[in-house]
Protein backbone atom coordinates (compact mmCIF):
# COMPACT_ATOMS: atom_id res chain seq x y z
CA UNK A 1 0.00 0.00 0.00
CA UNK A 2 1.46 3.38 -0.96
CA UNK A 3 1.78 6.12 1.66
CA UNK A 4 -0.86 8.10 -0.27
CA UNK A 5 -3.32 5.18 0.03
CA UNK A 6 -2.48 4.83 3.72
CA UNK A 7 -3.22 8.51 4.28
CA UNK A 8 -6.48 8.30 2.34
CA UNK A 9 -7.54 5.41 4.58
CA UNK A 10 -6.66 7.46 7.69
CA UNK A 11 -8.62 10.38 6.28
CA UNK A 12 -11.68 8.18 5.89
CA UNK A 13 -11.56 7.04 9.50
CA UNK A 14 -9.25 4.00 9.41
CA UNK A 15 -7.02 5.55 12.06
CA UNK A 16 -5.01 2.36 12.63
CA UNK A 17 -3.29 2.97 9.31
CA UNK A 18 -1.64 6.02 10.91
CA UNK A 19 0.62 3.53 12.69
CA UNK A 20 2.05 2.37 9.37
CA UNK A 21 2.71 6.00 8.41
CA UNK A 22 4.41 6.54 11.75
CA UNK A 23 6.68 3.53 11.14
CA UNK A 24 7.59 4.81 7.68
CA UNK A 25 8.19 8.42 8.62
CA UNK A 26 8.94 8.97 12.29
CA UNK A 27 12.70 8.61 12.06
CA UNK A 28 12.86 10.84 9.05
CA UNK A 29 10.73 13.59 10.55
CA UNK A 30 12.57 13.36 13.86
CA UNK A 31 15.82 13.96 12.01
CA UNK A 32 14.26 16.82 10.06
CA UNK A 33 13.28 18.59 13.28
CA UNK A 34 16.52 17.80 15.11
CA UNK A 35 18.63 19.16 12.26
CA UNK A 36 16.67 22.39 11.84
CA UNK A 37 16.39 23.08 15.57
CA UNK A 38 19.71 21.43 16.50
CA UNK A 39 18.04 20.28 19.67
CA UNK A 40 17.12 16.63 20.18
CA UNK A 41 14.55 17.12 22.91
CA UNK A 42 12.76 19.79 20.96
CA UNK A 43 13.01 17.58 17.85
CA UNK A 44 11.30 14.82 19.80
CA UNK A 45 8.46 17.12 20.94
CA UNK A 46 7.90 18.59 17.50
CA UNK A 47 7.81 15.11 15.92
CA UNK A 48 5.23 14.05 18.48
CA UNK A 49 3.23 17.17 17.73
CA UNK A 50 3.46 16.55 13.99
CA UNK A 51 1.98 13.05 14.21
CA UNK A 52 -0.77 14.35 16.49
CA UNK A 53 -1.59 16.92 13.86
CA UNK A 54 -1.61 14.26 11.15
CA UNK A 55 -4.24 12.32 13.11
CA UNK A 56 -6.29 15.34 14.13
CA UNK A 57 -6.27 17.17 10.80
CA UNK A 58 -6.38 14.07 8.60
CA UNK A 59 -9.32 15.66 6.80
CA UNK A 60 -7.09 18.33 5.28
CA UNK A 61 -5.19 15.78 3.16
CA UNK A 62 -6.16 16.28 -0.47
CA UNK A 63 -6.49 13.02 -2.30
CA UNK A 64 -4.06 12.61 -5.15
CA UNK A 65 -1.51 14.90 -3.48
CA UNK A 66 1.97 13.52 -2.89
CA UNK A 67 1.99 12.54 0.77
CA UNK A 68 5.61 13.47 1.37
CA UNK A 69 5.13 17.07 0.20
CA UNK A 70 1.95 17.47 2.23
CA UNK A 71 3.62 16.06 5.33
CA UNK A 72 6.69 18.26 5.06
CA UNK A 73 4.41 21.29 4.65
CA UNK A 74 2.66 20.25 7.84
CA UNK A 75 6.05 19.81 9.55
CA UNK A 76 7.06 23.35 8.60
CA UNK A 77 3.80 24.64 10.11
CA UNK A 78 4.44 22.74 13.34
CA UNK A 79 7.89 24.30 13.50
CA UNK A 80 6.58 27.81 12.75
CA UNK A 81 3.74 27.47 15.30
CA UNK A 82 6.16 26.35 17.98
CA UNK A 83 8.39 29.35 17.55
CA UNK A 84 5.49 31.75 17.21
CA UNK A 85 4.30 30.47 20.55
CA UNK A 86 7.65 30.68 22.27
CA UNK A 87 8.34 34.07 20.67
CA UNK A 88 11.88 33.35 19.58
CA UNK A 89 13.04 31.80 16.38
CA UNK A 90 16.21 30.02 17.38
CA UNK A 91 17.17 27.42 19.85
CA UNK A 92 20.28 28.53 21.76
CA UNK A 93 22.12 25.49 20.38
CA UNK A 94 23.96 24.94 23.63
CA UNK A 95 23.96 21.22 23.02
CA UNK A 96 25.27 21.16 19.47
CA UNK A 97 28.52 19.73 20.75
CA UNK A 98 26.63 16.85 22.28
CA UNK A 99 23.98 16.35 19.61
CA UNK A 100 25.24 12.89 18.72
CA UNK A 101 25.66 11.75 22.32
CA UNK A 102 22.08 12.22 23.33
CA UNK A 103 21.08 8.71 24.27
CA UNK A 104 24.24 6.71 24.82
CA UNK A 105 26.94 9.13 25.91
CA UNK A 106 29.65 6.51 26.33
CA UNK A 107 28.79 4.33 23.42
CA UNK A 108 31.64 4.40 20.95
CA UNK A 109 29.30 4.02 18.01
CA UNK A 110 27.40 7.07 19.07
CA UNK A 111 30.40 9.20 19.70
CA UNK A 112 30.19 12.33 17.67
CA UNK A 113 33.11 12.85 15.37
CA UNK A 114 34.88 16.18 15.14
CA UNK A 115 33.59 16.46 11.62
CA UNK A 116 29.99 16.05 12.67
CA UNK A 117 30.45 18.68 15.35
CA UNK A 118 31.90 21.02 12.79
CA UNK A 119 28.98 20.36 10.45
CA UNK A 120 26.31 21.06 13.05
CA UNK A 121 28.09 24.11 14.40
CA UNK A 122 28.41 25.49 10.87
CA UNK A 123 24.72 24.79 10.30
CA UNK A 124 23.89 26.49 13.59
CA UNK A 125 25.46 29.70 12.35
CA UNK A 126 23.17 29.81 9.31
CA UNK A 127 19.88 31.59 9.41
CA UNK A 128 16.75 29.49 9.76
CA UNK A 129 15.74 29.46 6.11
CA UNK A 130 19.20 28.51 4.83
CA UNK A 131 19.48 25.71 7.35
CA UNK A 132 16.05 24.42 6.42
CA UNK A 133 16.91 24.45 2.71
CA UNK A 134 20.07 22.42 3.32
CA UNK A 135 18.26 19.98 5.58
CA UNK A 136 15.53 19.42 2.99
CA UNK A 137 17.79 19.21 -0.06
CA UNK A 138 20.92 17.51 1.32
CA UNK A 139 19.81 15.47 4.33
CA UNK A 140 16.23 14.65 3.39
CA UNK A 141 17.16 14.41 -0.30
CA UNK A 142 14.04 16.21 -1.52
CA UNK A 143 14.14 17.28 -5.16
CA UNK A 144 14.07 21.00 -5.92
CA UNK A 145 10.57 20.56 -7.37
CA UNK A 146 9.34 19.11 -4.09
CA UNK A 147 11.03 21.79 -1.99
CA UNK A 148 9.36 24.33 -4.25
CA UNK A 149 5.96 22.83 -3.34
CA UNK A 150 6.75 22.50 0.33
CA UNK A 151 8.07 26.06 0.67
CA UNK A 152 5.77 27.58 -1.92
CA UNK A 153 8.53 29.25 -3.94
CA UNK A 154 9.61 28.70 -7.54
CA UNK A 155 11.98 25.88 -8.48
CA UNK A 156 14.51 28.39 -9.86
CA UNK A 157 14.37 30.27 -6.59
CA UNK A 158 14.94 27.06 -4.60
CA UNK A 159 18.06 26.32 -6.60
CA UNK A 160 19.48 29.83 -6.15
CA UNK A 161 18.73 29.74 -2.43
CA UNK A 162 20.24 26.26 -1.90
CA UNK A 163 23.42 27.30 -3.68
CA UNK A 164 23.58 30.47 -1.63
CA UNK A 165 23.13 28.46 1.57
CA UNK A 166 26.00 26.13 0.57
CA UNK A 167 28.25 29.13 0.09
CA UNK A 168 27.30 30.56 3.46
CA UNK A 169 27.91 27.17 5.05
CA UNK A 170 31.31 27.14 3.38
CA UNK A 171 32.14 30.54 4.95
CA UNK A 172 31.04 29.35 8.40
CA UNK A 173 32.93 26.10 8.07
CA UNK A 174 36.24 27.66 7.09
CA UNK A 175 35.87 30.33 9.73
CA UNK A 176 35.33 27.69 12.42
CA UNK A 177 38.16 25.57 11.12
CA UNK A 178 40.58 28.44 11.53
CA UNK A 179 39.60 28.88 15.18
Amino acid sequence: MTEEKLMEAVKHGDLKKASAIFDLYHKRMYNFFVKITLDRELGHDLTQNLFLRLIKYRGSYKEGMKFQSWFFQMARNVYADHFRKTKFMYSDFTDIERLGEYTHGNDEENEQTEREKLLYRSLGKLDEEDRELLVLSRFQKLKYEEISQVMDISVANVKVKVHRAIKKLRDNYFQLEKC
Binding site: S19, H26, Y30, T47, Q48, T103, L118, I166, L169, Y173
Partner: protein, 268 residues
Protein backbone atom coordinates in the same frame (compact mmCIF):
# COMPACT_ATOMS: atom_id res chain seq x y z
CA UNK B 1 31.20 34.30 -17.80
CA UNK B 2 30.90 36.15 -14.52
CA UNK B 3 32.28 34.78 -11.31
CA UNK B 4 28.87 34.36 -9.70
CA UNK B 5 27.56 32.23 -12.53
CA UNK B 6 30.74 30.16 -12.40
CA UNK B 7 30.21 29.44 -8.69
CA UNK B 8 26.69 28.23 -9.44
CA UNK B 9 28.06 25.93 -12.10
CA UNK B 10 30.74 24.61 -9.77
CA UNK B 11 28.10 23.39 -7.31
CA UNK B 12 26.25 21.64 -10.15
CA UNK B 13 29.60 20.24 -11.30
CA UNK B 14 30.37 18.80 -7.86
CA UNK B 15 26.82 17.44 -7.71
CA UNK B 16 27.47 15.65 -11.01
CA UNK B 17 24.66 17.52 -12.71
CA UNK B 18 26.67 18.89 -15.64
CA UNK B 19 27.17 17.04 -18.88
CA UNK B 20 28.76 17.57 -22.31
CA UNK B 21 30.51 20.77 -23.25
CA UNK B 22 29.49 22.68 -20.16
CA UNK B 23 31.10 20.06 -17.93
CA UNK B 24 34.35 20.22 -19.93
CA UNK B 25 34.22 24.03 -19.84
CA UNK B 26 33.90 24.18 -16.05
CA UNK B 27 36.59 21.53 -15.55
CA UNK B 28 38.99 23.49 -17.71
CA UNK B 29 38.19 26.75 -15.99
CA UNK B 30 38.98 25.20 -12.59
CA UNK B 31 42.18 23.72 -13.90
CA UNK B 32 43.46 26.94 -15.41
CA UNK B 33 42.39 29.46 -12.82
CA UNK B 34 44.02 29.40 -9.41
CA UNK B 35 41.30 31.41 -7.68
CA UNK B 36 38.64 29.17 -9.21
CA UNK B 37 40.57 26.10 -8.06
CA UNK B 38 40.59 27.38 -4.48
CA UNK B 39 36.89 28.14 -4.67
CA UNK B 40 36.20 24.70 -6.13
CA UNK B 41 38.20 22.91 -3.43
CA UNK B 42 36.41 24.78 -0.64
CA UNK B 43 32.95 24.11 -2.08
CA UNK B 44 33.82 20.47 -2.61
CA UNK B 45 34.99 20.16 0.97
CA UNK B 46 31.84 21.89 2.25
CA UNK B 47 29.63 19.56 0.27
CA UNK B 48 31.60 16.59 1.54
CA UNK B 49 31.08 17.97 5.04
CA UNK B 50 27.33 17.86 4.45
CA UNK B 51 27.73 14.13 3.82
CA UNK B 52 28.96 13.71 7.43
CA UNK B 53 25.39 14.10 8.55
CA UNK B 54 24.28 11.16 10.65
CA UNK B 55 20.78 9.86 11.12
CA UNK B 56 19.83 10.01 14.78
CA UNK B 57 17.61 7.42 16.44
CA UNK B 58 14.57 8.69 18.31
CA UNK B 59 13.92 7.00 21.64
CA UNK B 60 11.01 4.64 22.29
CA UNK B 61 9.03 7.35 24.04
CA UNK B 62 8.16 8.76 20.64
CA UNK B 63 6.31 5.63 19.57
CA UNK B 64 4.63 5.17 22.94
CA UNK B 65 3.43 8.77 22.92
CA UNK B 66 2.15 8.38 19.39
CA UNK B 67 0.23 5.20 20.20
CA UNK B 68 -1.34 6.92 23.21
CA UNK B 69 -2.47 9.82 21.09
CA UNK B 70 -3.78 7.52 18.39
CA UNK B 71 -5.81 5.55 20.90
CA UNK B 72 -7.26 8.77 22.34
CA UNK B 73 -8.32 9.97 18.90
CA UNK B 74 -9.86 6.58 18.08
CA UNK B 75 -11.87 6.75 21.31
CA UNK B 76 -12.97 10.26 20.48
CA UNK B 77 -14.04 9.22 17.00
CA UNK B 78 -15.94 6.25 18.37
CA UNK B 79 -17.54 8.42 21.04
CA UNK B 80 -18.61 10.90 18.37
CA UNK B 81 -20.20 8.21 16.25
CA UNK B 82 -21.75 6.59 19.32
CA UNK B 83 -23.33 9.85 20.34
CA UNK B 84 -24.77 10.25 16.89
CA UNK B 85 -26.17 6.71 17.03
CA UNK B 86 -27.51 7.33 20.53
CA UNK B 87 -29.32 10.47 19.44
CA UNK B 88 -30.93 8.56 16.60
CA UNK B 89 -31.73 5.60 18.83
CA UNK B 90 -33.45 7.88 21.33
CA UNK B 91 -35.61 9.15 18.51
CA UNK B 92 -36.58 5.57 17.64
CA UNK B 93 -37.21 4.64 21.27
CA UNK B 94 -39.62 7.54 21.55
CA UNK B 95 -41.54 6.33 18.52
CA UNK B 96 -41.49 2.69 19.68
CA UNK B 97 -42.42 3.75 23.24
CA UNK B 98 -45.55 5.43 21.92
CA UNK B 99 -46.40 2.40 19.88
CA UNK B 100 -46.26 -0.07 22.80
CA UNK B 101 -47.91 2.09 25.37
CA UNK B 102 -51.16 0.07 25.27
CA UNK B 103 -53.66 2.45 26.95
CA UNK B 104 -52.44 5.36 24.86
CA UNK B 105 -52.61 3.24 21.78
CA UNK B 106 -56.19 2.14 22.47
CA UNK B 107 -57.22 5.67 23.32
CA UNK B 108 -55.61 6.95 20.18
CA UNK B 109 -57.19 4.21 18.08
CA UNK B 110 -60.62 4.91 19.50
CA UNK B 111 -60.13 8.61 18.98
CA UNK B 112 -59.08 8.02 15.40
CA UNK B 113 -62.12 5.81 14.74
CA UNK B 114 -64.51 8.34 16.26
CA UNK B 115 -62.92 11.23 14.49
CA UNK B 116 -62.92 9.16 11.34
CA UNK B 117 -66.63 8.37 11.61
CA UNK B 118 -67.51 11.94 12.47
CA UNK B 119 -65.73 13.74 9.75
CA UNK B 120 -65.23 10.87 7.31
CA UNK B 121 -66.06 12.13 3.89
CA UNK B 122 -65.55 15.77 4.71
CA UNK B 123 -61.82 15.35 5.02
CA UNK B 124 -61.40 12.85 2.23
CA UNK B 125 -59.99 15.50 -0.03
CA UNK B 126 -57.71 16.87 2.66
CA UNK B 127 -56.39 13.38 3.34
CA UNK B 128 -55.48 13.08 -0.25
CA UNK B 129 -53.62 16.35 0.01
CA UNK B 130 -51.76 15.18 3.12
CA UNK B 131 -50.83 11.94 1.39
CA UNK B 132 -49.47 13.93 -1.49
CA UNK B 133 -47.51 16.14 0.88
CA UNK B 134 -46.07 13.16 2.71
CA UNK B 135 -45.09 11.46 -0.52
CA UNK B 136 -43.47 14.65 -1.69
CA UNK B 137 -41.55 14.89 1.58
CA UNK B 138 -40.38 11.28 1.29
CA UNK B 139 -39.24 11.93 -2.24
CA UNK B 140 -37.35 15.04 -1.14
CA UNK B 141 -35.70 13.04 1.64
CA UNK B 142 -34.52 10.31 -0.67
CA UNK B 143 -33.12 12.91 -3.10
CA UNK B 144 -31.17 14.58 -0.29
CA UNK B 145 -29.78 11.31 1.04
CA UNK B 146 -28.96 9.92 -2.38
CA UNK B 147 -27.11 13.07 -3.42
CA UNK B 148 -25.19 13.21 -0.14
CA UNK B 149 -23.96 9.68 -0.82
CA UNK B 150 -22.57 10.56 -4.24
CA UNK B 151 -18.89 10.01 -3.51
CA UNK B 152 -17.76 10.99 -6.97
CA UNK B 153 -19.09 14.53 -7.01
CA UNK B 154 -18.75 17.18 -4.32
CA UNK B 155 -21.11 19.49 -6.20
CA UNK B 156 -23.81 16.78 -6.16
CA UNK B 157 -23.34 16.45 -2.41
CA UNK B 158 -23.61 20.22 -1.97
CA UNK B 159 -26.72 20.16 -4.10
CA UNK B 160 -28.06 17.43 -1.75
CA UNK B 161 -27.37 19.70 1.22
CA UNK B 162 -29.17 22.57 -0.54
CA UNK B 163 -32.19 20.38 -1.27
CA UNK B 164 -32.48 19.72 2.47
CA UNK B 165 -33.54 23.37 2.91
CA UNK B 166 -36.90 22.35 1.42
CA UNK B 167 -37.61 20.35 4.58
CA UNK B 168 -39.09 22.62 7.21
CA UNK B 169 -39.22 20.22 10.16
CA UNK B 170 -36.06 18.47 11.38
CA UNK B 171 -36.13 14.89 10.15
CA UNK B 172 -33.90 12.31 11.84
CA UNK B 173 -32.62 10.71 8.61
CA UNK B 174 -31.78 14.07 7.08
CA UNK B 175 -30.13 15.30 10.28
CA UNK B 176 -28.04 12.10 10.47
CA UNK B 177 -26.97 12.47 6.83
CA UNK B 178 -26.03 16.12 7.35
CA UNK B 179 -24.10 15.37 10.55
CA UNK B 180 -22.22 12.59 8.78
CA UNK B 181 -21.34 14.94 5.90
CA UNK B 182 -20.19 17.62 8.35
CA UNK B 183 -17.88 15.18 10.14
CA UNK B 184 -16.54 12.93 7.44
CA UNK B 185 -16.92 14.46 3.97
CA UNK B 186 -13.53 14.81 2.31
CA UNK B 187 -14.47 18.19 0.88
CA UNK B 188 -14.41 21.25 3.17
CA UNK B 189 -17.12 23.02 1.15
CA UNK B 190 -19.51 20.10 1.58
CA UNK B 191 -18.80 20.05 5.31
CA UNK B 192 -19.43 23.79 5.55
CA UNK B 193 -22.66 23.52 3.55
CA UNK B 194 -23.85 20.71 5.84
CA UNK B 195 -23.03 22.84 8.89
CA UNK B 196 -25.01 25.77 7.43
CA UNK B 197 -27.96 23.48 6.74
CA UNK B 198 -27.86 22.13 10.30
CA UNK B 199 -27.78 25.74 11.47
CA UNK B 200 -31.46 26.09 10.49
CA UNK B 201 -32.43 23.45 13.07
CA UNK B 202 -30.61 24.92 16.08
CA UNK B 203 -33.92 25.32 17.90
CA UNK B 204 -33.96 21.52 18.11
CA UNK B 205 -32.08 20.57 21.29
CA UNK B 206 -30.64 17.37 19.84
CA UNK B 207 -29.22 19.17 16.82
CA UNK B 208 -27.74 21.77 19.12
CA UNK B 209 -26.18 19.02 21.26
CA UNK B 210 -24.64 17.40 18.18
CA UNK B 211 -23.18 20.76 17.10
CA UNK B 212 -21.65 21.37 20.54
CA UNK B 213 -20.09 17.90 20.54
CA UNK B 214 -18.77 18.51 17.04
CA UNK B 215 -16.57 21.36 18.26
CA UNK B 216 -14.02 18.85 19.51
CA UNK B 217 -14.61 16.07 17.02
CA UNK B 218 -14.35 18.20 13.91
CA UNK B 219 -10.97 17.71 12.25
CA UNK B 220 -11.21 20.29 9.49
CA UNK B 221 -9.93 23.58 10.95
CA UNK B 222 -12.10 25.73 8.68
CA UNK B 223 -15.27 23.92 9.71
CA UNK B 224 -14.12 23.99 13.32
CA UNK B 225 -13.80 27.78 13.12
CA UNK B 226 -17.28 28.07 11.55
CA UNK B 227 -18.67 25.94 14.38
CA UNK B 228 -17.06 28.23 16.94
CA UNK B 229 -18.62 31.26 15.21
CA UNK B 230 -22.01 29.56 15.19
CA UNK B 231 -21.77 28.93 18.95
CA UNK B 232 -21.04 32.62 19.48
CA UNK B 233 -23.99 33.56 17.28
CA UNK B 234 -26.27 31.25 19.27
CA UNK B 235 -24.78 32.55 22.55
CA UNK B 236 -24.44 28.87 23.47
CA UNK B 237 -22.83 28.76 26.93
CA UNK B 238 -22.58 24.96 26.82
CA UNK B 239 -19.79 25.51 24.28
CA UNK B 240 -17.57 27.16 26.92
CA UNK B 241 -16.10 23.92 28.29
CA UNK B 242 -15.31 22.43 24.84
CA UNK B 243 -13.76 25.75 23.78
CA UNK B 244 -11.53 25.75 26.84
CA UNK B 245 -10.40 22.23 26.03
CA UNK B 246 -9.70 23.23 22.42
CA UNK B 247 -7.48 26.06 23.66
CA UNK B 248 -5.61 23.80 26.07
CA UNK B 249 -5.11 21.07 23.51
CA UNK B 250 -1.58 21.11 22.11
CA UNK B 251 -2.68 19.55 18.88
CA UNK B 252 -5.12 22.34 17.98
CA UNK B 253 -3.96 24.61 15.17
CA UNK B 254 -3.03 28.11 16.25
CA UNK B 255 -5.65 29.74 14.04
CA UNK B 256 -8.36 27.58 15.60
CA UNK B 257 -7.08 28.43 19.08
CA UNK B 258 -7.19 32.14 18.25
CA UNK B 259 -10.80 31.79 17.15
CA UNK B 260 -11.66 29.75 20.24
CA UNK B 261 -10.17 32.49 22.43
CA UNK B 262 -12.32 35.12 20.72
CA UNK B 263 -15.38 32.85 20.98
CA UNK B 264 -14.76 32.20 24.66
CA UNK B 265 -14.34 35.90 25.30
CA UNK B 266 -17.76 36.59 23.74
CA UNK B 267 -19.52 33.77 25.60
CA UNK B 268 -18.22 34.35 29.13
Amino acid sequence: MDEKKMKELMIDYIDGKLTGELKVFVAKHIEKNEQAKKEFDELKETMALLESDREFEPDNELKLGFLDNLEREMDLLEKGLDEMDKALEEDNVRVIGFKWNVPSQIAAAVAFVIVGILIGLQIANQNNNNEDLRAEMEQLKSVVIEKLQDEASASQRISGVNTSYGIKQPDKDIIAALVKAMHTDENTNVRLAALDALGQFTEDLEVREVLINSLEIQNDPIVQISLINLMVQLKETKAIAPLERIIQNDETLEMVKDEAHIGLFSLI
